[in-house]
């Protein structure tokens, strides 16, 4: 659910914003990708039980 809501707010997903937007140097896309990685790394430690 988070994913769907996030993708709508950002007007695109990892592929649409990150890859296509990143390649044409779109400012919003780079901000978006930065936030994706920041949020994931920030949360990674607290949910490490899920994956490690």
């Amino acid at each position: 659910m988070l994913m769907g809501i996030g993708a709508k707010f950002a007007r695109g997903c990892t592929s649409g914003q990150g890859l296509s937007g990143g390649a044409v140097l779109n400012v919003g896309s780079w901000v978006f990708m930065l936030m994706v990685f920041l949020a994931a790394y920030a949360l990674a430690y607290s949910v490490r039980r899920l994956w490690i």
Partner: protein, 199 residues
Amino acid sequence: MNAPFYKFGAFGDEFSLIVAVVIGILFGFFLERAGFGNGRKLAAQFYFRDMAVFKVMFSAIVTAMLGVFYLAWAGMLDIELVYVGTTYLYPQILGGALLGAGFILGGYCPGTSIVAVATGRLDAVMFGAGVFLGILVFGEAYPLFAGFMNGSNMGSITLPDFFSMSYGLVMLIIVLIAVGGFVGSEALEKRIGKKLSAS
């Protein structure tokens, strides 16, 4: 022949949909072959165990970026016609943060979850159902934050515009960041990833 093919009318609406399907199938195929249909592999990224996601994404961005630039330089692509999405700063910051949270909790991004559904992974089916539910909730609640969504519109702004640097310089910086990131991520894999696996 000049690109973008679609905008120069090399083919019409219907054929463009066929092209999209063919490209989509190839995209999905290679994502799966890269191992990106597996939530564990994707999530390993965030524990510095397997930086493949970062490397593949950055390579893809750099390849496409250089491709667009050199095709334009060779006169085969009209860069003015290449679609540059509109930047809405705050919604994109929020959306990115939510997507990142969903990524680490669910193990997929929207695209890779579809790939994983195609290979029959049940966790991805649940994830996909969640994505659709999220989109539905967003759609229903949209009037509540329509103002937020349409505020902070910065237009189709690119990094060279934003930093008032030349296109070439920005590309050089990104390529350097990518190469540095590849080297750095492998070092991190070795140091932190191993430590985590041991514990």
